[in-house]
Structures are given as C-alpha cells and as structure tokens.
C-alpha cells in the first residue's frame, strides 16, 4: 500500500454534485454575455484563418465586425453543413479549405462513422482534445463516476471520434483506464470478469450484445464489477427509455448517455435526471430552427439543433446544421442552467421518410419499439419504394424464448402502437433470433433499398 495520501481538497471535491458548479449553474445573462464575446472571437479567427469562411462571408458582403449581438450571429452568419465540408475535403484532401491551423498543430485525426455516406475527416489540436474530453467529464461526474473508478472501453480504437474523446475525458477525470482493443465480444466479457472495471464505455446496442453473449456463456453481468455504463454514438438510454431498462437490468448498473457529434464536440452530456442532455455551454453555442420555415423555434417547440463550437479550432464549425431534431428547455431541476434537450435527439431531418403523406422519423419509431414487451433491441427499418410511395417495414428479433405465435402478437402490438402514435401503418415483421447483424460501433438501423436517385445525396 502506498503511503501517499489523497489530499483532503480532492476528497471534498469528490462529494460535489457538479464537476464545475460555477459554470454549470451560471445565470443565463452571464452565459449569453460570455457566448457573445467568445463568438466574436471565433468569427474573427474563422474569417482570418479559414479560406472557406472568408469566401462564405465575402460572398454575402459580411464582415466579422458586422456581428454585434447573438441575434446578428444567428441571423447573418451563414448556415454550414457536413456535405459542404465533405465536398471541400474531396477537392483538397485531407481537410479542405475549412481547415484553420497549420498541419503540424493537428495532434489527432478522426473520421465520422460514415453512417450517412462518405466519412468526414476531423482534425483536432491538443487543445481541442482537452476541451472535448472535458465535455465527457460533466456527464461522467453527474452520473456519479469519480476518479476512483476504472473505465473499460469495449472499443476497437479505430478512427471513430466517439470513444477516443471518451478516453480523453476519462484521462481528464483521472480514472484508471483499461482498453478492450482487439478483443471480440467473448474477450470483452472475460476481460471485464478478470480485470473488474467499474465503468463500461460502449455503444448502447453493443452493451446489450455483450450482455446477451455473457448470458450464453453462463456469466451474469448484473453481478459484475460494472457500476456505470456510459454510451454515445446512437440513440441510447436517454432517448429510448426502454433501452435504459434493458441495459440497467442486464448490467445491474446505472446507464448514462451523452449526445456527441464527432466533428463538433461531446456536445451535450447527460442530465442526472436521465430524461435529457444539457448543451455544454462552455464549448458550444446552440439554437434551433424550423428547417422548413427557417425561423428560430422557442423552448418547447421541435427544431433542428444548430451548433457553433469553440472546441474544434482546427476545423471551425459555425452555425452548423446537425440535422438533429430537438426540443429545448431551460430551468432543469438538476440545477444546471445549461440548455436542456428534453429526451436528447427526437429525430433526424435527414432520416425522415414520408409514408402516405406522413413524415416518419427514425427515432420516433425506435422510441415506440423500445417499449414493446417481448421485442429485443435488435431490429431494422427497411425502406423501399413501391408504386410511387416510400414504404418503411420494421423487421425485429423477439426476445429469446418467444415462440412464433407470441412473436406475431408482438408484431401486431408494435404495429398498433406505431399507428396510434404516428398515424401511419408500418408493416412489422418478426425474424429469427440472432439473424440480424450485430455491430460494435453504430448499429445500422436503416436499410435503404430505395433507388439511389430517390435518396438524399449523403444517403446514396
């Protein structure tokens, strides 16, 4: 045993509710004043350092000094979109004209997972990785994770930003870190049993996959050392309450989630209440608008999350369209003053299909499916185009042990609940247990079999 004592000041901090109370509970007035000054500095930086922003501003005759208020920023700084960044990167690899730093200042390269098409290359400076890691820590801390905990990363350490940034966060928090790199699912289970970590980092569906394989091996992970699971990369325990129940039961642990967007930041760490996420307003300025009317929406209304980040200075992102549909609110009972996104991401603008005149969002369907008794989290939404209309079918695996007759009843139940909630009839079809593909990273839910010319550019 070491004779080095943990300082009293650190012990005291471990009992605190917040990672940084002063800023997590800062008044709206002070936050907005800070945002304005930081945004002006960022606009200056982007205009002077990035050819992309200089051209974009010059095209509309906008100069950085024209921005004098948050309203000016929201209304006058042009919206940006991932498709522009990908296009410019393809023209001038690896980072295109949006790049704002000398290449030697890039300390880490990641890529988006490519779930919407071509991956986006993302440069991070050392400072960017530190700030990005901080965003995770707000979430870890709020869930109850402390420096004494040990993280296990069920993650292959490729170029996926999601869990590299979680690693930066765990390192920042000062925890012990164990890598599951290179292991298959059984290997992860054996490692967890042998090394006794207390925090699992994985995608939510992979956490369930690990638990299912453990059960087959005769290992009950609800009795393992894991006390917390933390997730990102796809809708998880905050967006899908049914998934929270499954994960927490399977692991005997408290499940948390944050909303991360690889090229921006771990944008919004989870609320300790478990019913939403809070925008990290030290790293991100955000607002929301109606993508059809282009008008800003107010609290309680659903709109697309538009984000500006201070955390990626290598590739600045100003008024960036996330395509995430969110409902913003203020005044959370957890004490944080940072904007809350109730239920995290409610849907995607770019994964919306119109079925018989009704707009159907992927997450809306997933939310219903996650609460159907007897339905597992292994399902896919198959899009086809028939007789001039888009059609969405749900194919799902029932829970193990469910017979064919019960599976048919589960399908009927799901179909009725979707119809009642979304006013659209979607065929729901059971398939054999273990017949759908499993994923370590993002689960591919949408199987788009429509002709390519009927899909959005990035979905082709």
């Amino acid at each position: 045993m070491s004779s080095i004592k943990v300082p009293e000041s650190i012990k005291k901090v471990r009992d605190e509710q917040f990672w940084n109370k002063d800023i997590e509970t800062m008044s709206r007035e002070r936050l907005d004043a800070l945002h304005l000054k930081r945004l002006l500095s960022l606009v200056d930086f982007a205009y002077s350092q990035s050819k992309f922003y200089r051209q974009k501003f010059n095209q509309i005759g906008l100069k950085p000094q024209d921005i004098k208020s948050l309203e000016d920023f929201k209304k006058n700084v042009p919206l940006t979109d991932k498709s522009e960044f990908i296009h410019l990167q393809q023209q001038n690899p690896p980072y295109g004209d949006t790049f704002a730093l000398p290449l030697e200042m890039v300390s880490h390269h990641c890529e988006t997972s490519g779930t919407t098409g071509v991956p986006l290359a993302i440069p991070y400076s050392m400072l960017d990785t530190v700030r990005y890691g901080e965003s995770w820590v707000y979430g870890f801390w709020a869930l109850g994770i402390r420096p004494v905990d040990t993280f296990y990363f069920a993650f292959g350490w490729g170029n996926f930003a999601g869990f590299w940034s979680a690693y930066w966060g765990a390192r920042r928090l000062g925890c012990r870190i164990m890598s599951g790199g290179g292991l298959d699912t059984k290997g992860h289970i054996e490692a967890i049993v042998r090394m006794k970590p207390t925090v699992l980092i994985s995608t939510p569906t992979f956490a369930l996959r690990i638990a299912a394989v453990a059960k087959e091996m005769g290992v009950d992970l609800s009795k393992s050392s894991i006390k917390f699971t933390y997730h990102a990369g796809e809708p998880g325990p905050t967006a899908l309450p049914g998934m929270r129940e499954q994960i927490e039961t399977a692991w005997g642990a408290k499940a948390g989630e944050l909303l991360g967007i690889a090229e921006i930041d771990a944008v919004a760490p989870g609320c300790p209440n478990g019913d939403g996420v809070h925008i990290n307003e030290m790293n991100v300025f955000s607002w929301a608008y109606d993508p059809l009317t282009k008008q800003e929406v107010t609290d309680g209304q659903i709109g697309e999350n538009i984000v500006t980040t201070y955390a990626n200075t290598s590739q600045p992102l100003l008024n960036y369209r996330t395509h995430d549909l969110v409902r913003r609110s203020h005044g959370c009972s957890c004490g944080r003053t940072w904007v809350k996104l109730d239920g995290s991401v409610l849907g995607r603008t770019d994964f919306m299909v119109t079925v018989r005149g009704t707009n159907v969002y992927q997450t809306a369907v997933e939310n219903i499916l996650s609460q159907i008794d007897g339905m597992s989290m292994h399902y896919e939404l198959v899009l086809t185009h028939e007789d001039g209309n888009d059609v969405m079918r749900v194919r799902f695996e029932p829970m193990p042990g469910v017979d064919a007759e019960q599976a048919t009843r589960i399908a009927q139940d799901a179909q009725e609940k979707i119809h009642k909630a979304l006013h659209v009839k979607l065929p729901v079809v059971p398939v054999e247990v273990n017949s759908l593909p499993r994923f370590e990273l993002k689960t591919k839910r949408i199987i788009d079999q429509r002709p390519k010319e009927l899909r959005r550019a990035l979905d082709r």
């Binding site: 800023i23 800070l34 930086f45 050392m126 700030r131 200075t313």
Partner: protein
C-alpha cells in the same frame, strides 16, 4: 475561486509565456506550452475572457 485567485492564474500565464519566448530546449518549451494550455483552459472554464487559443497570446 476568488477574483484574486483568478488574477494569480493570469499572472502565472504571463510568467510562463515569458519563459516560452526565451526557451531554447524543445522538451522544456513543449512542457511550458502544455502548462500554459492548461492554465488557459482553467481560465476558460472559470468564465474568463481569454483568447480562443492560448498561443494567440504569445505568437508574433
């Protein structure tokens, strides 16, 4: 933290920046820059108005 504490962090940064400017050892310069980045980060997360990136305060 009190405003006096925050001023001390600003002061520490100034001292480190002076050292970065005269340092001729790559290893030590890297460590000093790292220390300045962390202090910049502390000020940022105290809601202080600091430049967007720490080296903007010592680059020519």
């Amino acid at each position: 933290m009190t405003s006096e504490d925050i001023q001390k962090i600003h002061g520490l940064r100034q001292q480190i920046i002076e050292l970065i400017k005269v340092c001729d050892t790559p290893q030590i310069e890297t460590i000093l820059k790292s220390a300045d980045m962390e202090l910049h980060c502390a000020l940022w997360n105290l809601g202080e108005l600091v430049s967007l990136r720490p080296e903007m305060d010592y680059s020519d």
